[in-house]
């Protein structure tokens, strides 16, 4: 485990995998409670995709560092998770917040995995290739909803704008540099400024079509937040809940 957490590439992969895990974890909780049956089913399919993508990436790390993917997913210390505070931002079962949050993350992950896939590692590239078509599907599906509900007018537009405003402040956390055990260097920053510019371009174009506005800023490179293991309080709650059953009998098969 220590070897993995001290490896720059592994930490970069973990940042995406942990985003996917926690996003899937929070969103799968909506299954059965969505605003309409058809979208409840679709959103649940996409949270299964997120969890599956996390697993694909944990399996990559598991193979490389001889670890059980479930141990990577469930048994790290809280500060060794590299997800950002946006993915764990509580939506309080407000569909607009859930939607906006998932969409902002999905666009980011799409761009991030595209870059990850170009790194010189055949296994990792193959895994990113498997994830990417599903990621595009998610970006399209969520973007469609942002446009629909944003441009619907009245109550709907107001709720969507409120949701963008609600998450705007934590959205930059997506771009924090991951890994509290690493020295800062360009390798795992992975072209942070370019990434932000490209992401913001896509996001702003869709927001404009939806009739919504949002201002997002790239955090300082030195920022210490979720990606460096200093998580918001709600992350710890979510992790505790996620590991509750597993802690009944540590080491047991489930």
């Amino acid at each position: 485990m220590d070897a993995m957490l001290a490896d720059p590439l592994a930490v970069l992969v973990l940042a995406h995998a942990d985003d996917k895990l926690l996003l899937g974890h929070v969103q799968s909780d909506w299954t059965g409670l969505g605003p309409l049956l058809e979208e409840d089913i679709a959103a649940s399919a996409m949270s299964q995709d997120d969890l599956s993508h996390a697993l694909i990436l944990y399996e990559f790390l598991g193979k490389r560092f001889d670890l059980d993917p479930d141990v990577i997913a469930f048994e790290r210390a809280p500060e060794d998770y590299a997800c950002c505070d946006l993915v764990t931002f509580p939506d309080e079962f407000d569909w607009a917040t859930s939607l906006v949050k998932r969409w902002l993350v999905a666009v980011f992950t799409g761009l991030g995995l595209e870059r990850l896939g170009t790194l010189d590692d055949a296994d990792l590239s193959a895994r990113c290739d498997r994830i990417m078509p599903e990621q595009r599907l998610q970006v399209a599906h969520l973007g469609n909803w942002i446009r629909r509900l944003g441009s619907a007018g009245g109550e709907s537009t107001a709720r969507m704008q409120a949701a963008v405003d609600r998450v705007a402040e934590v959205t930059g956390t997506l771009f924090e540099v991951p890994g509290h055990r690493l020295e800062e260097d360009e390798t795992y920053c992975c072209g942070r400024d370019d990434l932000f510019t490209e992401w913001n371009g896509i996001v702003q174009a869709t927001l404009a079509e939806a009739g919504l506005t949002g201002t997002f800023t790239l955090p300082e490179r030195s920022t210490v937040g979720g990606r460096r293991g200093t998580h918001a309080g709600h992350f710890t709650e979510q992790l505790t809940e996620m590991t509750e059953v597993r802690r009944v009998s540590p080491g047991a098969s489930w």
């Binding site: 049956l37 299964q48 969890l51 007018g153």
Partner: protein
């Protein structure tokens, strides 16, 4: 999961159906011919099928709640994925079954509203709590096992659209049951804490499974419309016997003890003693058993079970909370023509 084995309102003939058409309809059913939506059918049959599919759909939607509580706590990636998919299936089944009733004349919105306002019912077994991960294993093994047995007979019913839907649903229930079986097997091969968790959950769910099929039918059930019209094709007692014959020996082989239990108002077990009435009759191959507490069954179905209020309250929260999305897409401001 099935809702149809619970007592549905008894069907009464309205008395003013054309006797020739009715005779022809009944003859078709007796001949094993399935009814398709364009066919003539008595009003009581139409209303009965509508109510049956609606009750079943309600059960799927409410049935998603107890298991949904455990998605965030599932103990491995695969179990987390499987449980999410399982609960998602229930929502999908609900959607398909509401569609059957929509075609018979009631809007989905009206059905969802009647459900949350307590005007219509859902299967009784979802009014019980699922306080541990062991309950998730038991729900998928016992309750889904019972549901498959029941729905296999429903798929042998007479109403085409319901039969079609049942066949699709059963295919997915097979996954639920297998995954439940795998969980029970894993837990009973595991640590002492896991085995205890499983036995405790079994104590909670075994009596609920026996009640799953509903109380004994009236002696003349075969002559009454529900069975004469093949809305249901097997007696509750007969289904229950088949269930026990299959699951009692399996439970014992797994090392589980089949107990008679008492429960408190929260549905938690307060005392257990082994069911000594559980004996295999070698000649018939049937296991005898102690009848579950039918007074409790009626109490729960009338609304006074451990979780009735909570289930409806969460369902109503979901209905109200999502209203703005349905209003936004229903308002037409985003619509396109019906087809490209």
């Amino acid at each position: 999961m099935s809702g149809a084995a619970n007592p549905v309102k008894p069907l009464e003939m309205t008395g003013n159906e054309d006797p020739d058409k009715l005779a022809e309809f009944e003859q078709r059913i007796a001949d094993g011919v399935l009814i398709e939506p364009g066919d003539w059918m008595p009003q009581a049959y139409r209303m009965g099928m509508l109510g049956m599919a609606e009750h079943h759909a309600n059960s799927e939607i409410i049935g998603a709640l107890p298991e949904g509580e455990w998605i965030t706590r599932a103990p491995s990636m695969r179990r987390k994925l499987a449980l999410t998919a399982k609960v998602q299936d229930e929502v999908g089944h609900g959607q398909m079954l509401y569609r059957v009733s929509q075609e018979l004349g009631k809007s989905r919105d009206d059905m969802l509203r009647d459900l949350v306002m307590g005007k219509t019912k859902y299967h009784n077994c979802f009014n019980y709590p699922a306080p541990t991960w062991g309950d998730i294993a038991m729900i998928q093994w016992l309750i889904d096992g019972a549901a498959i047995m029941n729905q296999k007979t429903l798929a042998d019913g007479a109403y085409g659209p319901y039969v079609r839907t049942m066949n699709r649903i059963n295919m997915e229930e097979a996954f639920h049951f297998k995954s439940g079986e795998d969980m029970v097997l894993t837990l009973m091969s595991g640590t002492r804490a896991q085995k205890q968790m499983t036995q405790d959950a079994f104590d909670r769910w075994w009596p609920v499974s026996l009640m799953f099929f509903g109380p004994a039918d009236k002696p003349d059930a075969e002559q009454r419309p529900a069975m004469r019209w093949r809305m249901k094709v097997e007696r509750n007692d007969s289904l229950r016997q088949r269930f026990i014959n299959r699951f009692a020996p399996a439970a014992m082989d797994l090392g589980l003890v089949i107990n008679i239990v008492t429960k408190d108002e929260q549905g938690l077990v307060t005392s257990t003693k082994p069911d000594e009435g559980l004996v295999l009759d070698e000649t018939t191959g049937n296991w005898s058993f102690t009848e579950p507490d039918w007074d409790e069954f009626w109490r729960v179905i009338r609304g006074n079970g451990p979780c009735n209020a909570h289930r409806l309250s969460l369902r109503r929260f979901s209905y109200e909370q999502g209203g703005w999305v349905r209003r936004a897409i229903g308002a037409g401001s985003t619509s396109m023509p019906p087809a490209a």
